[in-house]
Amino acid sequence: MIKIEKRNEAPNSIYFLTPVLAIFLTLISGALIFFILGFKPLEALKFFFITPISDLYGLSELLIKATPLCLIAIGLSFCFKSNNWNIGAEGQLTFGGIVGGGVALLFYNHDGFYVLPSIILAGAIGGMVFAMIPAILKVYFNTNEILVSLMLVYVSKLLLDYLVVGPWSNPEGFNFPETRQFSESARLPILIEGLRIHAGIFIALISVFLAWIVLYKTYLGFQIKVSGLSLKTAKYAGYKGKTMILLVFMVSGACAGLAGVGEITGPIGQLHRMISPDYGFTAIIVAFLGRLNPIGIVFASLIVALTYLGAETAQIFLQVPKYTGQVFQGMILFFLLASDFLIFFKIKFLGFKKYEY
């Protein structure tokens, strides 16, 4: 017999064990899905999760995909921790990409140490400005930031669409919807010859470190934590709620903007319609899988990045659509939320003894 009881207090370990449980359940369900589709489950899972990272090239691709996920999720953790639901990181990424890309095109054929830093800065500011829209509307007009930030995603995507087919399209590009390739001076340096891994990973790692310091060692981090746990208490303590909303959205937008600019100056090297395979949305899963903890987010970004790679390998070897990756991402979030049940309740196995009513 099984009995479900409310916990008085959740042990700390449960916060790390439930994500592991969620991943485990995702693998089992994934195997089941592959089985139903007529594949050998274990072999399919191997194609999905092992083959992609079995060589150096694969590992470099993994890090390339994990970098933007990690950056965005770090930014989102500031919002989510303080009860601000920024769902529009994808839009902030895109807008950061647009602004950074614009600067890169402006410096086309320029050579100079200032080119790359100004592009990166422009990207961060772009994302920040775009994130300020839902924040300002929330603070001054009491709008719902979930809806506003989400809808702005499509605004920025359509804007990018317009720019790459219209004014910014490559003059020698045979009307393909893309800009010129950026000059060498506008690209993030490649770290290892022959692989695509680039210096963007350092931006992500620095942001992880800074986020850890801010969230756990500063007054600002303390205020974010208190506001997230109880807005009533934050008010009573006299924290400036409005300033904080603006601030966490700025941090979050800047991180997403950096991720966007990291993509276009890193692996892509130009602007086109598809600068992000929904990194901004997937990063929401990463942030929660990492329990909004900077170190947790590093691991979570690697795991979720693997679903992107696995989907590509599976498409090649198993001829399943690459959207299988999104199925896995969805399952991870689903099982994570479901296993959070264990934070509040514990399951007691009472054995099969006769049950007394």
Binding site: E9, K217, F222, S230, T233, G238
Partner: protein
């Protein structure tokens, strides 16, 4: 047909409190019954038992001599007992008819005919197709009443129904209730408003501390006799501290303070005026939900009131937030220990850091100085005899009394000039209450001032130098604690006025 409701020897015991102590009452249709009492008298517990929301520990309920088993609100409904709660249970975005159809088995068209009949009969004017959110509080209440009427109730229980109504709406409600009563519906009206009892009801049962202390006909009662019964003779004056520390120096001056809320469940404050002297304790009495919450939040700076309404030591502070007010050496202890004054999932030292003075340097250059906060916390734990010395303990493991000591300690260790506290001993055991009362007296003796907002009259009389009563967002005349008697307090709390002399 005549309806008789008999409540026999009902008891309900919660840990540390007897909510209903052997309550027996008889009700008969054709009359409107008032159930009168202050907070915690046991009225709500009794009606929750009658409406099946909670189970009694002992006792029985008979409807027309039939023993009722009320294990759920559905049981009550099935036995034709209808209940209109103080807070409405309506879906704001659904239309009136949709709301009514939720717990009705009838088809929409059939229901519409029935509801229209009720509307016509009682002269209610409500459009059935508008969403609830477009209705006034009075109209929403009518929807709740219609919901009960659809089930042909024998008994209709109204829980403090006028707290959200305007005067006109109250009059309308009374007319309707009298009509229902004439039609044979037994009406039980729960309130703490004395005037309403006299103007509406035929019989009145007064409850105090879980017991029924009197049942009488309202025509044999008057405001003062009801007030006396509600507050009780138990109000013994406990002569407190010597107030020779009282000086004429003015600490806080509140003048023409007004607050109009957007939230219909919040109370508007109207023209609040008082001054507080050094070393004085000003008690603010009242039935809960009469504006105490709003007043506390305005004094602490969580809500910003109108311009230049609050002066502290002759400095204008109306626009300052709580953190800025603390720098003026004001301290605040809210009513809600668990979700406002402290966060249970935070460690003790983190909860201490919530009250952060510039001079305490908890956060040097924006960085957390854990060592300093922890040392400061240790001092609070030992000075205010909290029964742990582990500052890393999560606050949820402290008992209510110890948590309150921690909060008061946090507020008092910096020697504030003024402490504003709201129900500081609510829900605590006797030992903790005594400790906190002593602490509050001590700080008065040290020449510090206190504003004590409390719903516990004994506490107010024991600690206050002067007392004012808040009712419907208005403060009464301030009376010296020595001149307070149960009659005066009861009258003021029930919305009456006392002689100017």
């Amino acid at each position: 047909m005549n309806t008789k409701l008999k409540v026999s020897k009902i008891s309900k015991i919660y840990p540390g409190c007897i909510a209903n102590d052997n309550v027996s009452l008889n009700f008969e249709s054709g009359k409107i019954y008032a159930l009168l009492g202050e907070n915690g008298a046991g009225k709500s517990t009794l009606v929750k038992i009658l409406s099946g929301v909670i189970n009694s520990d002992h006792g029985q309920i008979f409807l027309n001599d039939k023993l009722l088993e009320l294990n759920s609100p559905k049981d009550a409904k099935d036995n034709n007992i209808g209940m209109v709660f103080q807070h409405f249970n309506l879906f704001e975005t659904l239309s009136v008819l949709e709301n009514l159809s939720i717990d009705s088995e009838k088809k929409n068209e059939e229901l519409r005919v029935l509801v229209n009949e009720i509307l016509r009969k009682y002269n209610f004017k409500i459009d059935l197709d508008v969403p609830i959110l477009n209705l006034s509080a009075g109209q929403k209440q009518k929807v709740e009443i219609i919901r009960c009427l659809l089930r042909n109730p024998k008994v209709l229980i109204m829980d403090e129904p006028t707290s959200v109504l305007t005067e006109q709406e109250t009059e309308d409600l009374f007319l309707s209730l009298k009509k229902f009563s004439n039609e044979g519906i037994l009406i039980i009206y729960i309130t703490h408003k004395l005037k309403e009892v006299l103007s509406l009801c035929d019989e009145v049962a007064v409850m105090r501390k879980g017991k029924v202390v009197s049942v009488s006909r309202t025509r044999d009662e008057e405001l003062s006799s009801l007030a006396n019964k509600m507050i009780g003779e138990s109000l013994i004056k406990i002569k407190k501290k010597n107030n020779n520390t009282l000086s004429s120096e003015e600490i806080l001056k509140v003048s023409n303070l007004n607050f109009i809320s957007d939230d219909p469940y919040e109370i508007n404050l109207i023209d609040i005026n008082f001054t507080l002297r050094k070393g004085e304790c000003l008690g603010i009495a009242g039935i809960s939900g009469n504006g105490q919450n709003e007043l506390f939040q305005i004094l602490s700076g969580e809500i910003i009131s109108n311009d230049s309404s609050i002066r502290f030591r002759n400095k204008e502070i109306s626009k300052l937030n709580p953190k800025e007010r603390r720098e003026f050496l004001m301290a605040f202890s809210p009513e809600d220990r668990i979700s406002q004054a402290a966060i249970p999932s935070l460690k003790i030292y983190e909860n201490v850091a919530l009250n952060n003075f510039k001079t305490s340097n908890f956060f040097e250059k924006g960085f957390l100085n854990e060592k300093k906060i922890k040392n400061h916390s240790k001092k609070i734990l030992s000075n205010f005899s909290v029964n742990t010395d582990n500052v890393n303990l999560k606050s949820q493991f402290l008992s209510g009394g110890n948590l309150q000591k921690l909060i008061l300690g946090r507020e008092l260790i910096t020697s504030p000039e003024l402490l504003i506290c709201f129900n500081p001993t609510w829900g605590l055991d006797v030992g903790a209450i005594n400790y906190i009362h002593q602490t509050l007296m001590q700080i008065n003796e040290q020449g510090k001032s206190i504003i004590l907002i409390s719903t516990d009259n004994d506490e107010l009389l024991q600690l206050s130098d002067r007392i004012s009563v808040i009712n419907q967002g208005k403060l009464s005349k301030i009376i010296n604690a020595e001149d307070v008697n149960p009659e005066k307090l009861g009258l003021l709390m029930g919305g009456g006025v006392i002689d100017k002399n």
